[in-house]
Subunit: 431 residues, 2 copies
């Protein structure tokens, strides 16, 4: 008896069948279209890099999750776990060839050996976009505006982007005399949305004294319009400063572009990652805010600090594609197409395959995707196949090449008989 | 003194800077457009799989080249080295969900730890397309026709596709009484183009006796029109048989579709891989035949034999994207675009960034990609930046939001002053 290898994928990894892959590709193509309209450029980097490059000086949590091994040449290598670290290496390596400010996007897979509970995958797609080589508020704003407009372009509806400024937060911590504890405090505050107000207060109180914990909680709970919140924060941070100026300028840009309704100033947004130094933000879909942020990022002072002495600052963001797809599916806004072909050509006799292809070429040349059926099964079976494949129309060719054909609408089950003009059929299908 | 990690990629791996990545993406998008017009559907599979799945029953050469390791969960895993083996596993696993015949394409990276001499890379992109679940000549022909038309669609010009039939070759070997040596003989013949006639003869003579080696060489050297060559081959193979019938039918389809000039019957085409059982083919660009085949494939009897007892036959092909890109570059047919943006908006004062974005949105909404400049450098410097970035036009905004603007053609260095209508500017840019 033959034994077979069980066909299966690794835990946390996925196959994409056509319907799912068409939905993903359609979404990615729309996102790319939006990025390109802003002049952002695509780059690509290797999936595999020196572990030293990816892990830098000690990886902490990352080190446990990374796919790392020794290759056949004895090199210590790893699969990339995000697109930011490779981009930092890329910028350090190619800086001379990149006209700054440089606006790039990168949509690609990354790998993390994470716990696969809670719908997390070990292979997933990231969609990053950054502007490097500019400290300007104009760069911060462009990223924010592009985020907002991209979500509209892809049909995800209106968003709320919650903005904060890490530097302003740190000034506030300095007034409390706890600037040195900034990293731990920001990480704790970052959990507010997940663990709730009371648990955050308890965790802050464990780090600091009760009074300071309460004052931090009160700072991050400031709610109101952008200007009002900014005024509260500025006061708590010790008065006007470059960071409050930056937020004020961003607010002006929002007003000037008529986009202010999409933004709130939210002092509780801190982001987990250490390298952010300026504005930080998270994006929520107004129709499904509960799924969490679908696009987050911020400004960093020195992207490539590990690899080069030249400072490269920038601002960037990343769309969580899997979460976005789940959200769009919930909203019924993810395409449910499972075919590109709008038309099928039925197969009456296999010997006429050349004729069927000639017919199909006419439709393809007119911009109508057309699948030629390959097996001369009974027509009823071919109708069923067209339905399964999600093809709307099936052309039933005549017995001889010059005869009239029929067109079957697979959805309505109506048949248009005795068609003799391909031009007419094309016009109807394009309607 | 700070020490830095040297920013570098692994040997055989590459970064793609924007100009190279735009060229690659443009090419891939055109190829996909063509595939979709035939109703082929995209799928995706994991980069990492169980080593057992990828290597099957002993990998030979493959085993030495593969990136294989034990993951943190103790699993024996490997990076895919082609897209065919994962597709075989995919078909075995999801057969019930795939309406047959199933036409799919898959464009993705694969990894091989090969010797990097001779322009080979360890990370490269494959572009595979297959029809599974059909034994018909119509399926063989559709793959052949789609290959031919796709190369025209992407602007690679006319191709010559050299076709052969392994089954017919094997019948010929049977008449010589050496059918049992078929695998070695086919592999030797496959080297003809690389090592030349005399070396092939010597290698064949080392396998067989001199007379048989000479007769095999004479068989594979048959040259002429399709019908003439087919007649010679058929006779040498012992007369009419299903395999000669299949080739004759394919030739009819070529005539019926007016595509016969793109095909030759070439008995020396055998393909190296063992799993082919029917037609096999290689594709040469007529303008640069010397670079070798840019698209090869064939028919297989049982794709998923390792993973399932259910037989799945099919026919498929693979475009060597790196070789194709090199060819198109040689021909000057690879796009040399290094920007998507057609228009830049110069930055006069950073405080007007909101206004610049509002302007840019008008152009973007009209389908014109538009990059907003972020730093208020001297105009001469911004002209230079636009030139470096490959942006053709630069809009110089007025001092106040309602004033007239200028448009600078970066190539000709002409400036159109006192423009007041964005609509007019859009019309001109779309021309």
């Amino acid at each position: 008896m033959a034994t077979y290898i069980e066909p299966r994928v690794l835990k946390g990894f996925r196959d994409f069948l056509p319907a799912a892959e068409i939905a993903r590709r359609t979404l990615i193509e729309r996102i790319e279209f939006s990025f390109r309209s802003y002049g952002f450029l695509p780059i690509d980097t290797p999936a595999l890099e020196y572990a030293e490059i990816l892990l830098g000086k000690g990886g902490g949590e990352t080190e446990k999750q990374i796919y790392r091994f020794i290759d056949n040449g004895g090199r210590d290598v790893a699969l990339r776990f995000d697109l930011t670290v490779p981009f930092a290496r890329f910028v350090a390596e190619h800086r001379a060839d990149l006209p700054l400010p440089f606006k790039r996007y990168h949509i690609a897979k990354v790998w993390r050996g994470e716990n696969t509970q809670r719908g997390r995958y070990r292979e997933f797609t990231q969609c990053d976009f950054d502007i490097v080589g500019s400290d300007s508020a104009a760069a911060d704003f462009e990223i924010l505006l592009m985020m907002r407009n991209t979500f509209q372009t892809i049909g995800a509806g209106d968003v709320t982007i919650r903005v904060n400024h890490r530097g302003l937060f740190n000034r506030f911590l300095a007034t409390l005399g706890v600037a040195g504890r900034s990293v731990e405090i920001l990480r704790t505050v970052d959990k507010l949305g997940k663990i709730g107000r009371d648990a955050t207060l308890i965790q802050l109180a464990a780090l600091l004294d009760d009074d300071k914990a309460a004052r931090i909680l009160s700072f991050i709970e400031a709610k109101g319009g952008f200007e009002e919140t900014l005024a509260c924060m500025t006061e708590a941070a010790g008065g006007e400063c470059p960071e409050s100026e930056r937020l004020r300028l961003l607010y002006c840009f929002m007003l000037d572009t008529g986009s202010a309704a999409s933004f709130t100033l939210d002092p509780s947004i801190t982001r987990g990652l250490d390298y952010y130094t300026g504005v930080v933000y998270e994006t929520f879909l107004n129709e499904v805010p509960d799924i969490g942020s679908v696009c987050s990022g911020g400004r960093y002072d020195n992207l490539a600090a590990l690899y080069s002495k030249e400072r490269v600052s920038g601002v960037g963001s990343s769309i969580g594609l899997d979460r976005l797809i789940a959200a769009l599916e919930t909203l019924g806004k993810l395409g449910d197409k499972n075919a590109y072909a709008r038309l099928g050509i039925a197969c009456i006799e296999e010997k006429d395959a050349g004729h069927y292809q000639t017919l199909a070429t006419r439709f393809r040349d007119a911009g109508i995707s057309c699948e030629v059926f390959l097996e001369s099964n009974k027509l009823a079976k071919q109708f069923m196949l067209a339905e399964k494949k999600g093809i709307k129309w099936l052309l039933i060719p005549a017995d001889d090449a010059n005869g009239a054909f029929s067109l079957r609408n697979i959805e309505t089950r109506e048949t248009i008989d005795k068609c003799s003009s391909i031009e007419e059929a094309i016009k109807m299908l394009l309607r």
